[in-house]
Symmetry: C2
Subunit: 517 residues, 2 copies
């Protein structure tokens, strides 16, 4: 039995023993319990699901000090960042609770029996139902927002599915604390006890993906690890959906007008964005297209100054450190690449310094467009629109693509939009890709290798990954889900398509001004 | 070069040479053209897409006589059936045109810039965009509705994608006629010439799935063929979604009350359903759970009489004939199985007679629950609710599950609903699974092995398979898709979620009664 140990990221000191790595029989047992919990949870009302999500959000806020303190030690991320991430994680749970209450995610649809050119049509009623137990692989770089109580777990619980989390080994004690919050909330609202369970260890993760009860996988991590699990999910006797958020280079283009108008502002914004959280974001702008010439040089030089002034930062784990140093080394040594500022050497342990490199768009090759996870950015200097477009076509599809646009840039920006729309899930103007809002309109996903999915992993619509449609044909009203019963008072309580037309619920009565009570 | 030849299904006579099997370089060329056509089509307006779908529907109706005559010769399906299928196919195109006009499939969403507990949120606007070229594998059993101009093609065109159809070899001349209808409609509305292209041959089909330009696969066919193509799609350097509709046993349960109330009606309905189109439907009820005892015996005997009186029918191709005779033989020879009526021997060629078999629920095993494509049904006689539930749990997940329910059956029906909801995509009461309406509330898809997908392959929502979401962040209005521009007159022209609330377009002005013009 291998121990799962919590380690201080800066000192390397052991904080404590958290658990043992899960054995194969642990995984089998956990998945059987998840199936029973999922079956029970699927039959609870939307109000009960919403209640649980709110209770978890409240529990997180109440345990914030303890969780943030532990996450600081395990990840070396800054306190401000971790406090913000905790707020985000609780807010996200709250948004899913509201989405469950609102109910449009069920896609409720009623077609009454009617004649059609194809002949008579029976009464058909359709709605989304939960997919069943979901395996969630926690990410290293968001110990709260993409971990035990993160987006995948929240979306799966909201959809009505049980969850088994493969804990990330770089923050096991933080994971246990978050699990404690969940268990107390489950107790409080009377949800099934095994609704969210944890497993530890690489082998347990692989075993999880092939357990017959598991109906979908949510994964945030590396392209290599994600690909291996994707292939495992696809090779099951019964293939299941694998929702992987893998790697992303996130090209950012500074167009000539923008470059001339606000070089310092863009330089400052770029350095903050690519070094934020030690560059350990899936949305880090890794390739920055900058025009040749004096204006572009000003941006580059200002970025170089800012990078040189940056303190070193501590990476999340040894694997990331090895990957970063290797990738940065390979890129720096490429004959076409020039160093602008920074260096990879840190003072000790996992400390590294940010790196800024430069290459001409003409000399950009596939070897320079791979993601390098950590605080590194490559400036790609272009001399013409064709040069720029050729360079962008070498960049793998990404989660995001960004355009900085100024006076006179509209025509070229329109060409870029047309091109980049097919190569990214989110297009950003005059901003930076880091910082992913949780909202209805968010898309966090892009064509391979950014993700494996045509869904988002952030925002309310991410629930769609863990739902499947079912149609009830000519069903007796007693056997229909409550949401599809027209005789219920207040029907439709949620948005519903009736005979082809979307119908919204009547708005809640507004209190009349001046009225008491 | 291997010829693709059209053959008369009854006489075996060669009708004519249709094409040559597509070479690898043909497939490469076709996919390059599809990518260009898809790019152009994705940029056309919804009105243009709707116009094309309507023109194809009109063209199908105009060419009905010629197409039905050819399909009759190639498939031996009855004229009434084929006329109905053509009407269905045209109606389906028309429904997709209306769905494109209505626009809710775009899931338009606007979140204005605002403060949130996570900090400021930028302006985010999200909408579905077409996925890119789609490979469609035509089915043998619906030479019109699931072939060149069938549901997958219609859904992909509506979504804004180009299509490459792998033609089914059992109706190549019908396929060419349908393609002619499409090409004339494309000319008429000025759509890209290569919007829908055909390839022929098994190897061309495999090559199609791995072409880099192909972004998704729609497949209707056997579990074995579908699994092979699924694995190919999953093993690409860039895996793509494979939407396979594979095999389905479609359990049907006659509960004791229903059995006692209307034995003759149920017997007649069942025989029509399982022998319709020579049993060559993915929704054929293959396993029929019938109570032990006198009432169940009456249903069985009435079914036996009806089967014995049935004329023989011609199967679609030699592969199906071989599969049917093999499957029927294995099941008939199973020691626990009793013959009720019919026999597999037909007069000649592909003619076969319907088969009705019987087994007790206690003796039901996995070996008897595989799909046997063709006119065969197995009666499973149960003696208790537990017996019934145990038997149902042996049945692979299916497209449909049906409950016949009468007086006193409600409690057991509720238990079945709870069980079957997890094992089928459509639950049917007091009806038969054959006959799949095309409508908003239709779900044609179920857990593996019924399909590989959490989407439907029939009905307007099947478009979702060929779309992916994109978010525009802080985008200038000129670079947004028209549907997301609030300054446009008449905004929102389609259902749109604005700051979390669904907003419907203003209803079109109604003509005032008595008003002229």
């Amino acid at each position: 039995v291998t121990d799962v140990v919590s380690v201080d990221a800066v000192s390397g000191e052991v904080i404590g023993l958290v658990a043992a790595e899960s054995s194969h029989s642990d995984v089998v047992r956990v998945c059987a319990a998840a199936a029973a919990a999922s079956h029970a949870w699927a039959r609870r009302s939307r109000a009960e699901r919403s209640h649980l999500l709110q209770a978890v959000a409240a529990g997180l806020a109440a345990a914030a000090d303890e969780i943030v303190a532990m996450a600081r030690r395990e990840t070396a991320l800054h306190e401000v960042r971790l406090r913000g991430e905790l707020v985000r994680t609780a807010y996200q749970l709250q948004l899913f609770a509201e989405a469950v209450d609102e109910g449009s995610y069920l896609e409720a649809t009623i077609d009454h029996a009617a004649g059609t050119p194809m002949g008579p049509r029976p009464d058909l009623r359709r709605m989304m139902v939960p997919l069943g137990p979901v395996a969630v692989f926690a990410a290293s770089n968001f110990p709260l927002a993409f971990s035990v109580l993160g987006g995948d777990t929240a979306a799966a619980l909201a959809a009505g599915c049980a969850v088994v989390v493969k804990v990330h080994p770089s923050h096991p004690a933080t994971s246990e604390l978050c699990h404690g919050v969940l268990r107390r909330a489950v107790d409080e609202v009377g949800a099934p006890a095994d609704l969210v369970q944890l497993v530890h260890g690489l082998e347990a993760g692989r075993a999880l993906v092939v357990q017959p009860q598991v109906r979908a996988v949510g994964f945030t991590g590396s392209l290599r690890g994600g690909r291996a699990l994707h292939d495992l999910a696809a090779s099951r006797p019964d293939p299941i959906p694998f929702y992987g958020e893998l790697g992303s280079v996130n090209p950012l283009v500074v167009l000539p007008g923008a470059c001339a108008e606000r070089p310092q502002e863009i330089a400052d914004g770029l350095v903050v964005s690519f070094t934020l959280g030690a560059g350990q974001f899936c949305t880090k702008p890794g390739l920055i297209f900058l025009p040749e010439g004096a204006a572009g040089d000003r941006v580059r030089d200002a970025m170089g100054d800012a990078v040189a002034a940056q303190p070193s930062s501590v990476l999340l784990d040894d694997g990331i450190r090895t990957g970063f140093l290797g990738g940065a080394g390979r890129m720096s040594e490429h004959p076409a690449v020039r160093a602008v500022a920074g260096g990879t050497e840190g003072e000790s342990g996992r400390e590294v310094r940010a790196v800024l490199l430069e290459v001409s768009a003409e000399e950009l090759t596939d070897a320079l467009t791979d993601e390098c996870f950590g605080p590194l950015a490559l400036l790609v200097r272009y001399s013409s629109a064709e040069d720029l477009l050729r360079g962008l076509r070498l960049v793998p599809a990404s989660l995001t693509a960004t355009i900085h646009q100024g006076d006179g840039d509209l025509e070229l920006a329109a060409r870029l939009e047309d091109e980049l729309r097919e190569r990214a899930g989110r297009l950003i103007w005059n901003g930076y890709p880091t910082g992913v809002a949780v909202s209805w309109a968010m898309q966090h996903g892009g064509p391979w290798p950014a993700t494996t999915s045509i869904h988002t992993s952030v925002g309310q619509t991410s629930m769609r990954r863990f739902l499947r449609p079912v149609t009830w044909q000519s069903a007796p009203a007693e056997l229909l889900p409550q949401e599809l019963r027209e005789a219920e008072p207040g029907f439709p309580g949620i948005p519903c398509r009736v005979d082809g037309r979307l119908v919204l619920p009547a708005p809640a009565p507004q209190p009349v001004e001046g009225q008491v009570g």
